[in-house]
């Protein structure tokens, strides 16, 4: 039996081409939790993390649509909202799958704050586009109130926010206690709610944290054996989407670092996964796995996916 941190990609919850209605999200999550139930049935202990890209985007668009009608939430509150609703959806779906599989284990979604550093260089260079596309007038207002805005791929103007590195999981001891008690924990949703320390006090920060890096930090802090990145591709590939594409069954740390530095893995998709995998193994983790949700049990046995060790 090993302790596994499984990081769910956004596509596990909203599939390619879907609008992302809540019926779809609940259906996809239930399906994906079936694979997690197999993991648990196979004797593994699991901590789940997940992305929140489209969901926090929806919330930001809703917030924007009601400016002037109700108080406008800051981004860290939007992240908390998405963490709450997705934690609920995942916990409910997994509980239902465990019931189907006759497994009597409790599931807890814990609100998670993740410490970042205000002096992180990323805080001064917002790069991650989030939320709504804005009108020209609103862009002026946003810039006046200190928000950074960019033109995003010819589609319109969007806010960009910083994506600083995660330093510490505030609720890590609670997560450890629950794991100890045999509970399946859902934590660090959306990479966690970014907070900084001001004179020892926690304070929300308008940023987003990469969920793969936060998951890797969590996995190291709770001394997980394995971290699994669940994604849409079966294996990590070199020369991805070219005639020279090569799928990899195994990657050593040195190879992973080399390919990362060569820019083999695109930022915002496979890049942060490989980076997070390298960090986890460097920090004493046994191995990292990248695979599709449906092959997670096989991948842990080395019969599917890509293993980094």
């Amino acid at each position: 039996m090993s302790l596994i941190v499984a990081a769910l990609g956004g596509n596990a919850i909203i599939k390619e081409g879907q609008q992302g209605t809540f019926a779809q999200q609940f259906r996809n999550t239930f399906e994906c939790m079936g694979y997690i139930a197999h993991l648990i049935k196979a004797g593994h202990q699991v901590v789940l993390t997940h992305g929140n890209g489209p969901q926090v985007g929806f919330i930001m668009i809703q917030v924007e649509a009601a400016v002037g009608k109700v108080p406008t939430a800051p981004l860290h509150v939007d992240v908390a909202q998405s963490q709450g609703s997705m934690g609920y959806m995942i916990a409910q779906s997994l509980t239902n799958q465990l019931q189907v599989h006759g497994i009597d284990t409790s599931v807890a979604a814990v609100m998670t704050q993740v410490l970042v550093n205000r002096d992180d260089p990323a805080m001064k260079h917002p790069t991650k586009p989030v939320g709504a596309f804005y009108t020209r007038e609103r862009v002026v207002e946003l810039e006046r109130s200190g928000h950074a805005v960019v033109e995003d791929s010819g589609r319109g103007w969007r806010r960009v926010v910083p994506s600083p590195r995660p330093i510490r999981i505030i609720e890590v001891d609670i997560i450890k206690d629950l794991v100890q008690a045999g509970t399946i924990v859902i934590a660090c949703g959306g990479g966690g709610i970014p907070v900084a320390e001001d004179n020892g006090a926690l304070k929300g920060v308008d940023a987003v944290i990469d969920k793969d890096l936060a998951s890797s930090l969590l996995a190291a802090e709770i001394k997980a054996d394995v971290i699994v990145f669940l994604t849409t591709v079966e294996r990590v590939a070199l020369n991805y989407n070219t005639p020279q594409q090569v799928e990899l069954e195994r990657l050593s740390l040195d190879e992973a670092r080399k390919y990362l530095s060569e820019g083999q893995f695109p930022p915002g998709s496979m890049g942060p996964k490989i980076e997070a995998a390298v960090e986890f193994v460097e920090n004493g983790g046994d191995r990292a796995v990248v695979c599709r949700p449906e092959s997670v049990v096989e991948a842990l046995e080395g019969r599917a996916g890509t293993m980094i060790e």
Copy 2:
């Protein structure tokens, strides 16, 4: 040392006359958590619950403002969002107050589902107005899609939703484990996310649960010694807001039941608190207390507030 469930009223977070900006909400919550820190310093173990009236209303207005732009969330997801963001805000504020007071205790906000019965008569009679005021055209659309809408006190049309009785706290064992480990738990936010069982599977329900009744159920299930309702009045009163007003220091169960049946306590405010207090004491609880947040330590010693036992 006793185990106390403290139920925060909405006014602890958005004060009378305030707009409810997030700066105000964080400031008020921090202030209120100072009183909770005193409780903890006095040696009590605390589980916090809280309302979400204005906050879920804001979210519903935002959802409504972005209909057609992004997928529309059902009410149980709105409740989960408010539970997430308020759990975060309360956990962060309490953590900061504990740090100020030199108390080294962890704080966890746990997403909480609360079981209701689809056959509850309340499910057929939606009574609780929530969220936005609608235009006449949108009312027709809402009614067509099965939502109940009423004219609310001459201010416009609003959705009304059912408020069924809470039956069981789904995450109760997790809350008990955390309390056992010495953690301060924030649970049942907004009365909990209402779910029903369909063939053994949990499914979200478009309803809201009274937070006082959910808190009383939680307090009974975790065998708390005391439940405290933190509100804006110093004491429960008879003939409230009349020249004959009498403040009560103590109420026996029999008196409480009698005054309830006489309609002394208005629904939606003191009524559910007294009803929940009576249920808690009937279910084996030691006593229930109603008081202002700032006098909670004194009220537990019988020197402030109203005690029901």
